[in-house]
Subunit: 332 residues, 4 copies
């Protein structure tokens, strides 16, 4: 249950109601909001005078629910916004990981050439093996920030675990929470305390409901700027690395107010399938697409098989535009 | 291994090679083809003079492989064809099941209004419960054929099990093998003996490789006209009925020569998600889409939740056209 | 809803009630039973006098439900029975497929040596590739029946599709419906018309509810003797061929009245894991175990990797006995 | 590739080899071990004189592999050890979360009554919803430690994220890494720096290989004491909360040297199924079982449905003993 308390409510009473219903307290500029477990369906009559408005829910997708706020949240990324009344589709590209100044400069030039405005790459890589490349770490972050400043882009980069989250929040414009970290309470709680946009990737073994509930950790912590990113779930099929769950995306579009970015690269795991999938993602009419590109995928230190080279991306980009137009969207 | 034998080979030698390598024999108009298990990588030198050409494979996707024949098979459905050099996208609509003459006539009128040319509905329903509606059976088949003839459409309808397959082959223009029957050897073997196109749906628990191997039963039986239909696989996600596997479709497009039809209706299971998914399917650039429509979904005897009503379909149809155009396809 | 009609009810009224509630009619020796879709929760007052007793359900697991009949069904296999008040655990072994008289005789000798009483092998193999070994067919059936008669065993063998079901019913003592045929309506309906026990394997992509509903096709057709066989479901894990679903088995034991046989061989897919899993299956306290053995697994024409050789089985057998004893079961 | 360097090797050369092959360096009491990505299959000839012994691998399961060390690792927990040459099976019980002194004292009394030696409960709960009970936190840790000391037990408790890992390492005897934290690099790396045993739970969406690779983070960090805990994976089946993957356990037993603990409670999610599953787990012949018990499950603040009450546990305990005996194990 979401409860908007009256503006003139005393702090003592607010606290009393919060404790009675085991509610999370959320303080916005002008009001106090309580969010109880969804099993609470009504409050004691004696409190009704203190309540401006309230909403009940069938599950713990509450702040993210269209029932609470029906319009897709508008989120500012640099000079542009997605969601809200905008018709923008964010197209964010870049390599899996930042590897060198030369590599990331080539990426930046491609982004500039295509008239795009964000750069995305990882400095802390959450690998599944300790014996794989683990990323450039803080040096990579600095390099990314330098390029971002030079080209006047926005920077999207990933936090791997909560030991370096403050650094990522400092350097990035959009903080990406990776699929393997979707449940990381250290990260989720900290991200609730910044105002920077969060790109939350779905855990590949997580249901849509768990995905949205992870977003609720951030939203109820006080950060309204959460973007959901579907990047493929794990299924029995092994011909692709993951299975892009567009049915789940259809659900999210129907029931939640969060902007959505789709990532066909990680879902497919092989570059040959990315163009068709990217066009399908564009036709899904969401707020953004994330596509991995690398100047020379074969020598990439991670995710070599799925990254498009620059020519492959240019070709894809030209076919994305007419589909964007067909659904009245502008690629940014 | 696929082996094209020389045209003048003696039947005795052909048989000898077939037996030695446990090959399936396939007789086309002008040649004899042997297909061995893929583990056979070469034949005895003494047979080389009898062989026109041969292909080796890593798995049992052989006749369906692009390695064997790189162009998508062209398949004739009524006056039109899909695949091959055509730019056609088949859009086949209709209710889950034929229920009455009135219902199916309304469907036919909608198809005619939209300028489409096939009608699709089931008469034998492979339900998961014996206590659910099981379909009109043979009476339904007759009704569908009557409407097909009246409107000069092509008829796509489903065979449930091999006890009534001859009737379905008689009445239908395209025989649909449902997801639950994908492994039915009685059906697969019989479908290899007709020349009518087969729309083979993927079992929701079947891998892409098993799916293509089911097609190989039909192809190696002598029927070249197999269309694959992806309709969603079963995953852990429960917000949608199934998960449409577009990554798997990207694999099929890259490695097989079979035309593909996508079915967003069964994947999603809820009508609200069908339009977005249908547009994504169109953008995948495949040979067809299958969308369930019903004059009055709420009273449908099966799959009530996923069928679009006629107005919803009209609206969707108008948005599919610009996407088809963006990828240079013509909806038929 | 299951409705036991009064014994003296007129056929006309019985038919009227059946039609009104779209019920399946089941005629036992002494009564008429109607089974409606579970959504029917009560019948019209005017019919109450014709009804002896009725049960309502939350889903279409009805005849199989413990709510309808709480004791595990007793099923006779040769001289022994499982379920009911017996403490017997059927241990049925044999090769994946019958390949030759010599092979199957060696199997029979092992069964005799261990004091067991059933032989199990397939003659019609439902392979996923048309280029794999398809089984001996009718000749295999005859060979199995010959050995069964010679050794005075009971024979369990598989039906692949409904084109040869009558032959299998003729020759077998227990008809196995394989995982890929679980949804085959031709087979399920025909099996409802025999009284021979049916060993119904769970489709590897099928939920527990669908599994039990497939059993309901047979039960509502008039055959009370259905045994459920869990043999592994398909999951994302690829180190084993399937994942044995013992949690699902715990559900079946709690909520259904059908005897259960567990098949660790097909679940694991590799012989090294079969002994541990077989002991776990025994400790689950079910009505039977199915374990694949082959005189020489390496040369087996199907499922070579998962079959135990005879010495491996003897060793396992000796460790199964103390576990059976620990749970008060007798291996038959 | 695991490389044991000669004891007298110079630090400079050791570093040179490590850098050349991008190896993780592991310093044990008496030697330096390098672990390269498994793709490295041999080293330059010039280094051979510096190498005592080396092992190559097909994947990144290296330190955990039976190929490297064939005996199950012996791990000391309080006065007892599991693995190695011991025949011990750890039976660790306790509530999902510590809720009050009274509750946890009742648990301690049950443990004492049964002659067991560890207590397990969580203080930091990694819930999927921000609106659910999040655990007692540091106060809970202190309470658990107090009871542990009073009863002379060993304490197993969970770390939720890396912000409080030092506290958990301080208070616990065995640190549990929960399923949702299996990929948490902050936790994994920190746990490599303690010598306390780590109970690593498998992520419910993680493959066996990823699971073992998570263990490799800890092992290669310098902590040899890792115990794997299978607690159910996510599949399409919804009748149970998860699916206990005993086939995967059979793989782990065959190919890895890590002790295994099985958790039927979280897999099943419903108390009715726990006893049968617990007996099956015991028969799997692993190093331990984890079973959730609560003095009054109905009022538990988390996982209410799956916890056994004390009488249910006593009854189960009496049936576990004969199975342990049948496989020559001693419950500790």
């Amino acid at each position: 249950m979401i409860i908007h308390l009256n503006k003139n409510i005393s702090k003592t009473v607010a606290k009393e109601i919060a404790q009675k219903y085991e509610a999370v307290e959320l303080f916005t500029e002008d009001k106090t909001i309580l969010i109880t477990p969804h099993s609470v369906k009504k409050v004691d009559e004696k409190y009704l005078d203190h309540i401006e408005r309230s909403w009940v829910f069938d599950n713990d997708m509450q702040l993210a629910s269209k029932k609470y706020s029906s319009e897709i949240r508008e989120i500012q990324i640099g000079k542009f916004s997605i969601g809200g009344k905008s018709n923008n589709t964010l197209l964010t590209i870049g390599p899996c990981g930042v590897e060198s100044k030369e590599q990331i400069t080539q990426t930046a030039e491609l982004i500039k050439e295509c008239g795009l405005h964000t750069i995305r790459a990882g400095a802390f890589k959450p690998r599944t093996s300790p014996y794989s490349y683990q990323g450039m770490g803080i040096e990579g972050l600095k390099l990314l920030a330098e390029i971002r400043d030079k080209y006047n882009f926005s920077l999207i980069t990933e936090v791997r675990d909560s030991t370096h989250i403050d650094a990522v929040i400092d350097y990035a414009d959009v903080i990406q929470i990776g699929a393997k970290s979707m449940y990381d309470h250290g990260i989720l709680r900290r991200c609730g305390k910044t105002k920077k946009p969060i790109l939350l990737k779905r855990g590949f073994g997580s249901t849509i409901q768990e995905f949205v509930q992870a977003a609720e950790f951030i939203l109820s912590g006080g950060n309204e700027n959460v973007i959901l990113c579907e990047r493929g779930i794990r299924t029995f099929e092994t011909k692709s690395r993951f299975t892009l769950d567009l049915c789940g995306v259809a659900y999210l579009k129907e029931y939640t107010n969060l902007p959505i970015v789709l990532d066909p690269s990680h879902a497919m795991g092989y570059s040959y399938g990315v163009p068709d999938l990217a066009r399908a993602c564009m036709a899904m009419d969401v707020e953004g697409l994330l596509i991995e590109v690398h100047p020379e995928p074969k020598v990439a230190k991670s995710d070599a098989s799925q990254q498009l080279n620059h020519d492959e991306f240019r070709k894809l980009f030209n076919t994305l535009k007419p589909i964007a137009k067909a659904i009245n969207k502008t690629i940014i």
